[in-house]
């Protein structure tokens, strides 16, 4: 599927996705602005924004080897953890003024242990993310949010007021609204933007100063309003999975004629489909509730699987999806379980479904192509 967009804004997003430090972030740094890394989408970025810093989602983009990380981790650890740690060990993350974690999974939580031993980042903070989604965990995580707020404020020698927190929540909600608007456009018969392009837009959102990003995104939405859509697809695809930040992967799917029209990814709908409740009285409680209950969850959250499954099925309906592709990084236990459960759920619902294994830095394009092509043929497309 050829890109039809000749948009400058889109190019800026694509550039931000293919590198770590994009020009907008660089100029923020040049002006003395601070950047705080987040190792997972469960770090409440709003707190970092409220502290006057730019939250930056840590990736392994551009990594070419894992030599250094391989002395810390082993071959049964996923390639995302190895590439991202390798970059940190090489000093590629020296631009960070801080880094924050949640113990997302067995791989990423150990990166924290290595990072604090080996990487010179002035501020490190680990939040204890629970594994359930009841009110008790909302309360627990709200406390964690408050602790991050206090600790970051103390480190920076500032205070973070409720008003600042609300401003940050509103700013991030605005990002979410704009992103959701972009997704709404893809519901049409002729979506004006491909899945690969959308992913670039989403990844860029985790790497740029937010107001700047919102402004660019507004511009893109305007441009899209007047552009011609894609109509040559063989099938409309819903892509689900874990940490996928490489548009080239979706490009392979789309080259075969499978237009990705929606997703459940942590660089996708999971982080923006729902909004933080601006009507709550306490911003910390609002964030606690949002991250634990308010939005589509990661497979690691127990008790939420029926909801996740319902979310996928709803997306299939709303976006008139022909088939679901689920990707997983090799060695990812969370997605192994999730793929297994979705296979059963989607079979029951009669929705075509395929599971794919993947390495973080794309390899084996040929095999991916064969699988996707066979999947489309299987659907009779």
């Amino acid at each position: 599927m050829e890109s039809k967009l000749k948009s400058k804004v889109l190019q800026e997003f694509q550039q931000a996705t293919s590198t770590l430090v994009n020009p907008a972030l660089q100029s923020w740094k040049d002006q003395g602005g601070k950047v705080v890394g987040c190792y997972c989408s469960y770090v409440p970025e709003e707190v970092i924004t409220a502290a006057g810093c730019v939250p930056f989602r840590i990736r392994g983009t551009g990594s070419t080897s894992t030599d250094l990380a391989d002395t810390c981790l082993s071959s049964i650890n996923c390639s995302f953890s190895r590439h991202s740690l390798d970059m940190a060990l090489r000093g590629d993350y020296a631009f960070l003024d801080g880094a924050t974690w949640v113990p997302t999974c067995d791989h990423v939580r150990r990166i924290y242990d290595h990072w604090r031993r080996r990487v010179d980042t002035p501020y490190l903070h680990l939040m204890a993310l629970p594994k359930k989604v009841t009110d008790v965990q909302v309360q627990w995580y709200s406390e964690e949010v408050a602790m991050l707020r206090d600790s970051l404020a103390k480190h920076l020698g500032i205070t973070i007021s409720d008003a600042q927190l609300w401003d940050a929540i509103k700013l991030h909600n605005e990002t979410r609204r704009l992103q959701k608007h972009l997704y709404e456009l893809r519901k049409s018969d002729n979506p004006p933007i491909t899945g690969a392009e959308t992913l670039a837009v989403m990844v860029a959102g985790t790497a740029m100063p937010r107001s700047h990003y919102n402004q660019l995104l507004r511009q893109l939405l305007e441009e899209l309003g007047s552009s011609n859509g894609h109509s040559d697809q063989r099938a409309r695809i819903l892509l689900i999975g874990g940490i996928l930040d490489d548009p080239a992967y979706i490009e392979v799917i789309e080259e075969q004629g499978g237009l990705v029209v929606a997703d459940s990814l942590c660089f996708g709908t999971r982080t923006m489909w729902e909004l933080v409740d601006e009507q709550e009285s306490d911003p910390v409680a609002a964030l606690g509730r949002y991250y634990i209950q308010g939005r589509p969850q990661c497979p690691r959250m127990f008790g939420d699987q029926p909801k996740r499954s319902a979310f996928i099925k709803q997306m299939v309906k709303d976006f008139r999806v022909d088939g679901v592709i689920s990707e997983r990084l090799v060695m990812c236990d969370n997605w192994t379980g999730e793929q297994f459960m979705f296979a059963e759920d989607l079979k029951e619902a009669g929705i075509p479904y395929i599971r794919l294994d993947r390495e973080y830095i794309m390899a084996g394009v040929g095999q991916l192509r064969t699988r996707v092509q066979a999947f489309l043929e299987m659907m009779g497309r």
Partner: protein, 264 residues
């Protein structure tokens, strides 16, 4: 109507020419380093056997296999998963499960009654259950692939080879040789270990009705027997060389496409 199917794999290139639904010629050639050249060679040989002078005599050509994008003369390409399924079921209608053992990978496909793919799994990560696994074993045993096939007799008690990784299996086999095991027993052990692997893959798509094995390794009778043993199902004997099933499927799809084109 005359159509062609061309299946370019990692080890061999195959071409099939069909006239009015019947195979009139086929070829198998070793792969070269350039898939487009392999495709050309395979098709030229088939054309010659069919006494056709030019590729333009074919109404429609479908390319498939690992090198399908490089079959420059094809009108279209279809994945080998679909082609093997279609080919196997058309030749043997009771077949609903197809195991395709290729040089670099293996695939198991389950089919609907009308030859459509219902589900498939693919192993391309490791050599287990692929042609290159057998090649590695044949090298260790210095018996060649044909030797590997002829050495296994059902009566022999298979030696225990627990590893399914070709690297480790190789060292196990070396140990067995040194311990003085009969070659035929080792070969049977190799077949059993591959069969166990394939059995697990079949389980993932679910075994339904009869099974067919396609690809070059289907000629290895020891493996076929070991597989029947594991699957507790009959492996159907295909009426043509199992190596050309993918190309047959491609040609069958070419017929459909050509007809659709005519109607349009």
């Amino acid at each position: 109507m005359i159509v062609g199917g061309c299946d370019i794999g990692s080890a061999t290139g195959k071409a099939v020419i069909m006239k009015d639904g019947n195979i009139i010629a086929w070829s198998v050639v070793p792969s070269t380093t350039k898939p487009e050249i392999t495709a050309r060679q395979a098709m030229d040989e088939a054309l010659q056997k069919a006494s056709l002078t030019s590729i333009d005599d074919l109404d429609y050509i479908v390319g498939t296999g690992y090198g399908r994008l490089k079959v420059q003369f094809a009108h279209e390409n279809i994945s080998e998963i679909t082609c093997h399924g279609r080919g196997a079921q058309s030749l043997c209608p009771s077949v609903h499960t197809v195991i395709d053992i290729g040089g670099q990978d293996c695939k198991v496909t389950s089919l609907t009654d009308n030859g459509k793919v219902l589900e498939f799994v693919m192993n391309d990560r490791c050599a287990a259950g692929t042609g290159r696994f057998f090649e590695a074993m044949a090298r260790v045993l210095s018996c060649g692939l044909e030797g590997l096939s002829s050495l296994a007799h059902n009566s022999v008690k298979p030696a225990n080879i627990s590893s399914q990784c070709s690297v480790f299996a190789e060292s196990e086999v070396v140990t067995l040789i040194n311990e003085g095991y009969e070659l035929s027993s080792i070969v049977a052990g190799i077949n059993h270990s591959v069969a166990a692997r394939l059995n697990a893959m079949v389980g993932r798509v679910g075994l339904s009705q009869d099974v067919a094995i396609t690809g070059g390794c289907a000629k290895n009778e020891g493996l076929v027997h070991a597989l029947e043993d594991k699957l507790k199902a009959k492996v159907m004997k295909l009426p043509v060389d199992p190596q050309i099933i993918g190309a047959v499927g491609a040609a069958l799809i070419a017929i459909e496409k050509a007809q659709a084109k005519v109607e349009a």
